[in-house]
Symmetry: C2
Subunit: 249 residues, 2 copies
């Protein structure tokens, strides 16, 4: 009997994890938690492959992963059993569906949507602590939106790439980068087929300086053209970032 490939939609709170990717030793990771749940459910050791390897502290509302299960079962059984074995870790399998054997969560062509939430007000977050980046001053959302427009498209994003990034080259296509105001929140939404390491968080750290009036859209164009990480803003903290969805072609 051949194993069935399953595609899983996964939600998690990134706070207690050292990121998505499995690590040596007892380091808690989302992939490790899912693989332990698969082991408890099916008695088999199977790799759970994620679409995006989110960093430590980054959340997901719609991460997608695949896994091959030898045991035949119904989708509701996969969801129920994995969630039961995941408890009390803040990881939930929202959906499970059979997938063709050539489907790969990471390598099958897809579009990822990330959201970054900034809370811009004097008071710290009480209800959204751990879900937003808190900045005390007001932000000029119009200026941030104009500067975001500079970054959309096919560019060499060396200036917006973590020093240790192991991606294949610095060129990526950023399909969308929206900036919206929602009360005291500024919400940034980024869409691309592939992101460089820390790309969204460095973009957010840079646009926050635009929002504060330190830089303009012209400065962001100059930073992009410089192809130099030291020219861009700081890497925004992980807790504001959530992988919202992964859409496959």
């Amino acid at each position: 009997m051949t194993a069935q490939r399953w595609i899983l939609t996964v939600e998690y709170d990134g706070a207690p994890f050292a990121g998505w990717q499995r690590q040596e030793g007892a380091v808690p990771t989302v992939q490790g938690a899912l693989e332990a749940a698969v082991r408890a459910f099916c008695g088999q050791t199977a790799a759970v492959h994620g679409a995006g390897r989110t960093d430590a502290g980054v959340h997901a509302a719609g991460q997608v992963a695949h896994v091959d299960l030898a045991r035949p079962c119904a989708p509701e059984e996969v969801i129920g059993a994995l969630n039961a074995h995941l408890r009390p870790a803040p990881v939930a399998v929202l959906a499970a569906a059979p997938a063709p054997p050539d489907f790969h969560a990471r390598f099958t062509r897809n579009m990822k949507t990330y959201r970054y939430r900034i809370l811009a007000r004097p008071a710290p977050p009480a209800l959204d602590a751990g879900r937003v980046w808190h900045l005390r001053g007001p932000l000029d959302v119009g200026a941030m939106r104009a500067a975001a427009g500079v970054l959309v498209g096919h560019h060499d994003f060396t200036s917006f790439r973590a020093a240790g990034c192991q991606g294949s080259g610095p060129v990526r296509t950023l399909d969308a980068l929206e900036v919206a105001a929602d009360g005291a929140e500024v919400v940034l939404t980024a869409r691309a087929r592939s992101f460089l390491h820390n790309q969204v968080r460095i973009i957010v750290g840079t646009l926050a300086k635009v929002g504060r009036g330190v830089w303009s859209a012209g400065d962001v164009a100059r930073i992009l053209a410089a192809r130099d990480r030291t020219q861009a803003g700081p890497t925004a903290p992980p807790q504001g970032l959530t992988l919202m969805e992964v859409d496959y072609d």
Copy 2:
């Protein structure tokens, strides 16, 4: 010199608190946390009066309170100092404004808006744990909306009142009760000048049974007319409830 009355807008995560209202001993309450912050800031013991005395575990995004401060200060100073002294408790003062001496957060005529979030899906909440009531099955939002319509208006709400409620009589006017679907969430919004103890949570517990198909709008009309708490549904858990805003005339 006369003390200045201040009106405060307050956000809090209800989880670590035994509710709004100050209690004897070392019980953590939101009112107690605010009064301790006032003491640390001004060196004075002053009562902080809230618009609504939220129960243990209930959150607020826009609770309103008033307090008399002997020390003259600017609004930004009140906000900054109280938030500094509140740390690390999940309570934040969002706004502070001078108020006339006859303003009273609770007794000045006002309209309160509460929101209740139900997460209706098989998977437990990972990102919104502590913010929603999790129900596994799907809910019929149309049926819930029809039943909600039965409760809007001026009624004797004895069936939707906690046994220990100390409010003045069981008659209240429920100005609005909206039921909206938002993905896997069902969000109920209730507006009234005054609520009975647990009124929103008993209404939600009752409408959840309508959503599951156990009861109809006609059953809810019968329950309302019965004036008997034992006829209504269970009291929905506190973590789904948030006091969203208090509007003064």
